[in-house]
Symmetry: C2
Subunit: 351 residues, 2 copies
Amino acid sequence: MPLPTIEWIGVVDGRIKLIDQTLLPNELKYVYCDDIESIYNAIKTLMVRGAPAIGIAAAMGTVIGIKNKNAVNFESFFKQLKEVTSYLGSSRPTAVNLFWSLKRMEDTALRNSDKPISEIKDILLNEAKTILEEDKEICRKIGENGENLLEDGSCVITHCNAGGLATGDYGTALAVIFAAVEKGKNIRVYADETRPLLQGSRLTAWELKNAGIDVTLICDNMAAHTMKTKKIDCVVVGSDRIAANGDAANKIGTYSLSIIAKEHNVPFYVAAPASTFDLSIVSGDEIPIEERSPDEVTSISGNKIAPDDIKVFNPAFDITPASNIKAIITERGVINSPNTENIKNIIGNKP
Amino acid sequence: MPLPTIEWIGVVDGRIKLIDQTLLPNELKYVYCDDIESIYNAIKTLMVRGAPAIGIAAAMGTVIGIKNKNAVNFESFFKQLKEVTSYLGSSRPTAVNLFWSLKRMEDTALRNSDKPISEIKDILLNEAKTILEEDKEICRKIGENGENLLEDGSCVITHCNAGGLATGDYGTALAVIFAAVEKGKNIRVYADETRPLLQGSRLTAWELKNAGIDVTLICDNMAAHTMKTKKIDCVVVGSDRIAANGDAANKIGTYSLSIIAKEHNVPFYVAAPASTFDLSIVSGDEIPIEERSPDEVTSISGNKIAPDDIKVFNPAFDITPASNIKAIITERGVINSPNTENIKNIIGNKP
């Protein structure tokens, strides 16, 4: 079985080439970003989404942002770099991988402050490429560490898209499924469609179907009935930021799914790289939750589906408490019963 | 404040005139049904929906169905009538009000078997009108009985549409809200959009907004986050069939919402007329769950939102166990902690 690695992003001739994920699955279209406004916009409008993918795109965006800047010394160069990173950092507030990646680019510049500016620019391009390459390796490791949680014949529910389009390789949550399938296990998946932006139906169902995996699409509100009436073995989702105590932010509806899983005694797993942990915050209460435009809820594909001027509450994420999570699957190992102590042992000081 | 009674159905010149609810809120269009195929189709395609409304439409459909039938004696007339009722009864399997209403039309014919056929037809037309009139009275009673569960300043979550478009008057779940507002209470509502057919955004949000009630639209998967971050005082929903033990079938997503409410210690109320109870079945396990077309999940307003030929699970209802329900609000009174004994005391032998 051919498992997918979607080359959704790359730096080509000094521009960022990426798939516009908002058009999938109806249209597979690449767009080119040659300034930071366009990469900011790509992140903001979810052409690129998924915590690790946002980190990769932001690193590449930083390279594009400083490409044409002229600075006579490191001090002024670094000031320009910080303008770029703080602009890109304002695109989306919740996923910590964005800030992790931008900080890594800044630190790389600082470490090379004695070199000529043109050389630092090359080093930063290489760093962005390294972030992408490392993420590929991380996906494989997450898959490897997580796949033995799935027995042959397992049936999994997933939410949103934590697959090839959200990472450098074949995902975090979906990596666990893909790796199990690579080992010859038969895995079936129910994919939550994930309102309002339908990443589950548009991206996850598409990725799994393309990989030949048995996938069934459900609306988010069907997960409880599905757990009650079908044999569901576990839930696996990704995450956008994990607090020191294991509380995990992820796409809106994840918290709901974790409560429903608990009610049905279905194990609930989060799969995420170490870069998703934010050990500077004690609990999920400190994670800022992005609220997005009412239009995302009141219209689909340009068609109005609600009354004019209706008030809308549209949080893009929610927080799943650590107590609802059986284990967090990372590239460094599986953190069972996540809490401050267990997380510290495996994640320690973030690189 | 003008509270709504939407005249969505009536018999006009021997035809049934009804609002095509699939077009709301974008278009308010009446259609005319002058044969049983068209009323069957109206129920099947959800032009008419909501358990009490289906009962009303089916009674009127029965009148239309036997209008032009010629029978020489009661025996052959009743055979024709049974053909009509069993055809209409096959339109949707879950809501018991459909079968209750059709049985009531049959019983009315049987009680009048000594009368001329033309007179029986008139009696049946009157019976259908009586069912509509009685339902109006029932809505008001449900509102009256339920409104004192809502304190001034309460904030309520509701799911799907159990309002004026689902009943003869101003609803079951929404009757509770409308009646509280009539009493001068300030009530705010979060309306689940209710995928896949969006009765919450298209109908409930529209009805509440038209009535000047403070309503905020959310996606179904946002209810848990809303309960956690906003002050939610209770959930009120309708029902399509309630078993003798209090297990209640309602629109898909209701069961999910009941689990989430329990997790947050938010009281969960079901509002429904006595005709929704099916005391012939012991528990919700015996309620048939309608599964509908994949198209409802894979496209919206004709736009595809999922990959081609994706497998879909599309149950239209789910079962909320009685243990998750704090009270069932009926026209005969409020059944607290619903169970077989408490239900029998208030509903007794169904009329």
